[in-house]
């Protein structure tokens, strides 16, 4: 198996799906001639041409809405928002239209599109360019929200996202593009809506996804040196949320920490904790902890920004508090 970057895994998924299905096309700002702001679609413009790799004006509302319109009529757009922060401008197209039209018209329409977008903080971009707003999008029935943590998952889940007949928001954490992981040569597709145990252990359950999953894994490695075996569960999909493996793990460890890069209030952690107490109340041996972004806008200055973000020390400290 080759060890490739997350960026390469995403690029490969897109290229394979474009070859597989003529209805799949890419649209967004700088996706073509430039090759993608994060170089994900480098070479695509030459390979597939301007019909299938479409540079748009800086028009998030119509990038969102035109993708919906094209999908309604049977195409399979992969529309890119340069970063998730700019998807706020297209919130109406994503939530009111992509996620609601099928329902509102009594099931008459399919909206088989993918919105791809890099997100996340930690790159000294200031408050407007550093959001991890995943939970906001995951709030609404009608949209599927996927955010992978490894190259293997990224490739298999993006292919699934392109193939499903439902609208999917695929959030790529920008700091993960260069991480490497094993990806098999052949074709594979992973199921959307399935959590995955990334590391087995019996002392504590750490739940995470995307960059939070990477932090959780680093923390688990450190804890192992001290003889603490953490089980790490990767949510992978935020809607629909698969609590099965989380609950199964918790029933074994009786203790849990939820890690996410977004803000703590009203976050993914809040949801996971609520469901654990609803569905596994008898197994709770200690308070369930949340490790998340502190409640402030993200500042530019490096040390100050890092102080607001999650890291392995905070996860380790949370685990030790409840052991």
């Amino acid at each position: 198996m080759a060890r490739i970057t997350m960026r390469q895994a995403i690029t490969d998924a897109l290229r394979e799906e474009m070859h597989r299905d003529e209805n799949v096309f890419i649209m967004g700002e700088e996706v073509g001639v430039w090759g993608g702001t994060y170089a994900v679609t480098r070479g695509f413009y030459d390979e597939f041409g301007p019909r299938r790799v479409r540079d748009t004006p800086i028009s998030e509302m119509v990038i969102g809405g035109a993708a919906v319109g094209a999908a309604m009529n049977g195409l399979r757009p992969v529309a890119e928002f340069m970063t998730i922060n700019f998807a706020f401008v297209a919130f109406d197209a994503i939530i009111n239209h992509a996620a609601k039209l099928r329902y509102m018209f009594g099931g008459q329409m399919k909206i088989p599109l993918v919105f791809r977008s890099p997100g996340g903080g930690g790159r000294q971009l200031g408050a407007t360019h550093s959001h991890t707003p995943d939970v906001i999008f995951a709030h609404f029935p009608g949209l599927k929200v996927v955010s992978p943590a490894t190259p293997y998952d990224a490739k298999g889940l993006l292919k699934a996202a392109i193939r499903t007949d439902d609208p999917v928001l695929f959030i790529e954490h920008a700091t993960l593009y260069q991480i490497r992981g094993e990806v098999p040569e052949g074709e594979y597709v992973l199921p959307i809506g399935k959590s995955d145990v990334k590391r087995e252990g019996s002392d504590v359950t750490i739940v995470g996804y995307a960059q939070g999953l990477q932090v959780a894994m680093e923390a688990a490695d450190e804890l192992a040196k001290e003889g603490i075996e953490a089980e790490v569960v990767d949510l992978r999909t935020l809607r629909p949320l698969d609590m099965g493996p989380v609950i199964a793990s918790f029933q074994k460890t009786f203790r849990a920490v939820v890690v996410e890069e977004g803000h703590r209030s009203y976050g993914i952690g809040a949801e996971v904790v609520a469901r654990l107490q609803e569905e596994a109340f008898d197994y709770i041996d200690a308070p369930i902890k949340r490790v998340a972004q502190l409640e402030a806008p993200l500042p530019y200055s490096r040390e100050l920004e890092q102080s607001a973000l999650i890291n392995k020390q905070r996860v380790i400290a949370a685990v030790k508090e409840i052991l």
């Binding site: 809405g65 035109a66 319109g69 094209a70 099928r102 329902y103 509102m104 009594g106 629909p240």
Partner: protein
């Protein structure tokens, strides 16, 4: 223009007007809920434009959508059942007055966020241009919608990608209570099209012949590869913006003045003065429309409500 066609236009326009009047009654009785926007006064636009389209051309409009729904040929009873929130409604009772669609007729709705569906229309146009067909998308919107960002982004994208979209502004002089001159920096809305590489043309939206002709020409231009086209239809809504409009922003005289040039009146005069048909024939059409409406209301009233489990269907294709 042949007799059958003119009588069909007449029938559709009378059907739409009477459907709207009936709906107002049912709203007062509490049988229709939510927001209800009537199309009375604007009938010639839906009828004249849709008469000029091919069935493979797409139709998409805003929340004032019953006229378009009936003009594309959705059964009156399925539209009425939707108004009453019944399982037999065209959107299974999940959409209501503002959200009629019939995908089998390339009618993509009924959209209630002002301006948003212009972006969907750009996408419909994109899908046809991607497949290299000569089909077009007809997109209807109000004067007020030309002030929202969606309008500008969608027209610009259509212009830059030469998308086969016919933009049809139904300028009924007001967005809710705000007159065009109080909301738009240019009062001739067609001027806005020029910023996006389209000429734009004003049309008497009360005259179904003018509407039909302008639409035919615009669609022809689109099919010849000349890119998107823009028509500003000058019209007027006789009733309030929606039910319960206090109507403080216009005078009775103004309404009366527009009513003199009534869309159905213009067509009726044409038919009678040119001996296309007799008054008796038109009365006969009025009666069939009345019967169809009575039947539609009865059907809607007798139809079942959506089953409780319908709450959770149609959220996703694959769960």
């Amino acid at each position: 223009m042949d007799k059958a066609m003119l009588l069909e236009w007449y029938r559709q326009m009378v059907l739409i007007r009477r459907f709207e009047q009936k709906s107002a009654e049912l709203y007062q009785l509490g049988k229709i809920g939510g927001f209800l926007h009537l199309y009375v006064g604007q009938e010639a636009i839906a009828v004249g434009t849709i008469a000029a389209r091919r069935p493979t051309d797409h139709i998409i409009t805003a929340y004032r959508d019953h006229g378009h729904a009936l003009a594309v040929g959705i059964e009156t009873k399925a539209v009425m059942a939707e108004m009453l929130g019944k399982a037999t409604g065209i959107s299974k009772g999940k959409g209501g007055s503002m959200h009629m669609a019939d995908v089998t007729r390339n009618f993509w709705g009924g959209h209630a966020v002002v301006g948003a569906h212009l972006s969907l229309a750009a996408g419909l146009g994109l899908s046809e241009s991607y497949r290299e067909t000569d089909n077009a998308a007809l997109c209807y919107f109000g004067d007020g919608a030309t002030n929202i960002g969606y309008f500008h982004e969608s027209l610009n994208l259509a212009g830059v990608w030469k998308l086969p979209v016919l933009w049809i502004c139904e300028n009924n002089q007001y967005g809710m209570g705000t007159a065009v001159s109080r909301a738009s920096a240019v009062s001739a809305i067609m001027q806005k099209a020029s910023a996006y590489g389209m000429e734009g043309k004003q049309v008497d939206g009360m005259n179904v012949f003018e509407v039909y002709k302008a639409t035919q020409e615009a669609l022809q231009a689109i099919r010849e590869g000349k890119g998107p086209q823009f028509l500003e239809m000058l019209t007027y809504r006789y009733e309030g913006h929606s039910m319960g409009d206090p109507l403080r922003y216009r005078t009775k005289d103004e309404v009366e003045k527009w009513r003199e040039d009534d869309a159905i009146g213009i067509l009726e005069r044409h038919i009678l003065e040119n001996d296309v048909a007799t008054k008796e024939e038109l009365d006969g059409i009025d009666h069939t429309v009345e019967a169809e409406l009575t039947e539609a209301v009865q059907f809607a009233e007798e139809s079942p409500l959506p089953a409780p489990e319908e709450l959770f269907t149609d959220i996703y294709v694959e769960d």
